[in-house]
């Protein structure tokens, strides 16, 4: 067995970050809400960067429940897509140039999404992670939750089902 030298770290990082930036940054609604993604290896954390327009009830004030729900749906879709693209990104099969020019891979479609509101969202940044509990050829199940100050005090959690893009309805 021949020994292959590991790739230089900046090559690895650049490839992964380019793919992620193209995937998430190419969706207008993700930019409208001001959602960005932190990456550690293949793990993604969605960041809902606070902005006044995300407020629902101005008297509290609290983040709009629809916004926190959308944040979880976005995090679920991007995580699901990221996981299924990972092998293609790593093997170099995915055309990064095409991706950067906005030719995105087909995204999973939401079949249903159930949101459980746990605490009011404070007027500050929120974070979210999605866990793909099952990913089949056609359907995927995802659990997602978002928190602010304390990781163990989620403000909202959700479970959703998604139709994978390579098998359209």
């Amino acid at each position: 067995m021949s020994h292959r030298k590991p790739e230089p770290v900046q090559v690895v990082k650049q490839r992964r970050d380019t793919a992620l930036r193209a995937l998430a940054g190419g969706v207008p609604y993700v930019n409208f809400l001001g959602i960005t993604f932190d990456r550690r290896g293949d793990e993604l954390t969605g960041v809902l960067n606070f902005d006044e327009k995300l407020i629902g009830n101005p008297d509290l004030p609290a983040l709009h429940g629809g916004v926190t729900a959308a944040f979880l749906e976005v995090t679920s879709i991007i995580t699901l897509s990221w996981m299924s693209l990972w092998d293609e990104v790593e093997s170099g099969r995915l055309d990064l140039e095409a991706l950067e020019q906005g030719r995105l891979p087909r995204l999973p479609k939401t079949i249903d999404f159930t949101i459980d509101y746990l605490r009011p969202g404070l007027p500050r940044d929120a974070y979210a992670r999605a866990r793909v509990t099952r990913s089949g050829r056609r359907y995927a199940s995802v659990h997602a939750e978002a928190w602010q100050d304390n990781r163990d005090k989620p403000i909202v959690q959700a479970v959703g089902h998604f139709l994978m893009p390579w098998d359209e309805r």
Binding site: Y29, G65, G66, E73, V74, G102, R106, T110, I115, D116
Partner: protein
């Protein structure tokens, strides 16, 4: 816009109220109908709401916000409910992709209230009103009940 026959509330006045919500303002939401325990809210199409640039279809998240806002409005429009409400849970079924370029209208009905909980069902439509884009069911908090209400399960 004319005053609603059931509630005597002008939908334009109700729209003013909803526009106090910064996110509702950002989405350009407009109340198009309002009555005892029901509300109808329109969200115009905007390029910034697109979830899939390949198809130009509005992101489900924007539909969630519309359904949540409309659901809450239907609770507050219920004659037995007093004060502000908050969403406990919301389930949305996405029946089909909204037609690109078209706005979406949500209609929500608060069909049952107990001392603590309001139950809502809602539907989202684009210009093809025969085929809904999404359906939702939700539960909302009831801060205070006007008069007597039968004891519910919650």
């Amino acid at each position: 816009m004319s005053t609603d026959a059931e509630t005597g509330i002008d939908p334009a006045v109700a729209t003013e109220l909803i526009l106090r919500l910064p996110q509702a303002r950002a989405l350009g939401l407009k109340i198009t109908g309002f009555g005892d325990g029901w509300a109808e809210i329109h969200m115009p199409f905007a390029a910034q709401l697109v979830g899939d640039p390949e198809t130009g279809v509005i992101h489900g998240g924007a539909v969630s916000t519309l359904m949540d806002t409309c659901g809450g409005a239907s609770v507050m429009a219920h004659p037995q409910v007093e004060g502000h409400t908050a969403t406990i849970s919301l389930r949305i079924d996405y029946l089909r992709a909204a037609t690109p370029g078209q706005g979406i209208t949500a209609r929500a009905e608060c069909h049952h209230v107990t001392r603590s909980v309001a139950f809502v069902r809602a539907v989202a439509l684009d210009e093809d009103t025969e085929r809904p884009v999404a359906m939702a069911t939700g539960t909302f908090t009831v801060p205070q009940l006007r008069g007597d209400a039968p004891e519910g399960t919650a």
